[in-house]
Symmetry: C2
Subunit: 339 residues, 2 copies
Amino acid sequence: MSQSQSRLSILLRRRPSGAPRQEDFEPRHDPIPTPGPGEVLTRTIFLSIDPYMRGRLSDRPSYAPPVKPGDVMTGETLGEVLASNDPRFTPGDVAVGARGWQSHIVSPADRLAKVDRDGAPLSAYLGVLGMPGTTAYSGMTDIGRPKAGETVVISAASGAVGSVAGQLAKRAGARVVGIAGGADKCLFVQQDLEFDDCVDHRALDLAAELAAACPNGIDVYFENVGGRVQEAAFSLLNPFARVVMCGMVSQYNEAEFPPGPNLGFVVGKRVLIQGMIVSDKPERFAEWRTLAAPWVREGSLRYREDVVPGLENAPEALAGILGGRNFGKLLVRVGPDPA
Amino acid sequence: MSQSQSRLSILLRRRPSGAPRQEDFEPRHDPIPTPGPGEVLTRTIFLSIDPYMRGRLSDRPSYAPPVKPGDVMTGETLGEVLASNDPRFTPGDVAVGARGWQSHIVSPADRLAKVDRDGAPLSAYLGVLGMPGTTAYSGMTDIGRPKAGETVVISAASGAVGSVAGQLAKRAGARVVGIAGGADKCLFVQQDLEFDDCVDHRALDLAAELAAACPNGIDVYFENVGGRVQEAAFSLLNPFARVVMCGMVSQYNEAEFPPGPNLGFVVGKRVLIQGMIVSDKPERFAEWRTLAAPWVREGSLRYREDVVPGLENAPEALAGILGGRNFGKLLVRVGPDPA
């Protein structure tokens, strides 16, 4: 895990068909670059692995341009500053914002944000305090708006976004029901995250189990999954329910999308279904860090991390998160913590 | 058309299977009733026929309770006060709010609103200035929010709701494209309502024709229809588009609903899809009458009415609106205008 004297990059070799595989990527070794004017060189400590990355591997139209075969794969990192041509950063600083599946990254200083090393464990800045936590916060604040006594259902409840979304709904006084894949995840959601209930989406009769866990219907549904999980949740929506459309990971590997729900119920129940991308409200990132860092320090905002060692394993990690095989916020450990 | 000395009521005889038919209803003649304390007797001049009525004929769960077989069918009327036990109404007044497929109706005075006989043609208070007009106003004000330069698509564009929704979007400076059934309706939508374009939903390749009419995509879609019209419109939605879910009349006669759109696009495009029922914001009714009555008087807000003579023809009129055979706001003429 020690830093080598060359840079390792993981490049997209070809567009995956279905689930991404190791062979869809290729490593490249080259010299560690030197930052130009206004630039900063970081060595990567953690790389964040997130479901949205599947969209960057495809040339299907999306809200962000895809990675081209031959290019370095994209992703958010946390790293230590090794060299800086900007007065805001000095070697030894830790920063988030450098992008790429790379051991060393040169970035414009404007893209980086320094991290308070005493504020929280470093990895938290890519997870509970970073993009996934902010996604949950923005989704609940801007769309879900859970109220005391309401029932809130969170899919992918043990994941980086879902775990925060559900805890925010608990803080708002809602009854919170998770949906997760497998008994271990459900146990974690109930015991560690303290959701009121959790349903295993592998259950034979998911709709019936979810209905039993939501005797008063669903007022807020935080959608990360799609497919039959969505179908089960939509069938229980109450009048004036809000659906936070954050992701539909169950279909990200699919070439053709299956049909969805008949939307007749949306009229009569006056349901609101709204999509979101966290970067639409960039101000939410700093807001959330300020709000949640004390909760992380005091231990009242729980999270779980799934750390894969070695940048060379990032492709397999991505395949894992798309198949639900991670357990908690998925990170790749690229280099050691700073001394 | 003169008033008889007995009351005619149209009762639901049995729940229709598929399209409602005359035999699903039955007439009843009985004496004209006398209003009790706080009540008002009106003789009906116009009965409004609206697509939502199909929901009242079914025992499928809905936002409002169904009409039971043997009960008088529900519907909004405009009528002349014949007798009043409330100081706010005197014989000769014209009022809206009495409900029922009946030639004479006794209502609590609180349910009625007096109509300004010089403000607009009486029928307008059931259409362009009434519930359908208010629906369009509320949907555009609270959900659609069209902006200058945006593209707004209106399904059932020649209908009571769609015709107002599109004219409101024109007033907001949007490019407005209607979808309507047949060349006559499309001509009316373009020439009389002055929409920028109109597409016939019976076109073989509706999606291609709609795409050609919306070269910049769709920013607001006002949904009255569902089915393949919805599919065509959804495929053209722009990032941050708003969908006003007002109705899906194409499936109201269906026992089983077809699948709907895969909702993956909602996330990446941050689309908002929201259902509405006009009665959720009752304050919009008076707001709209105040705003729009001058437009109706000056002729700048256009509308078309389709008037069916005779209360006994209300069942056929309802079947017609569900099949798109009306042309403009559908009304049943039950009795003559006041002298």
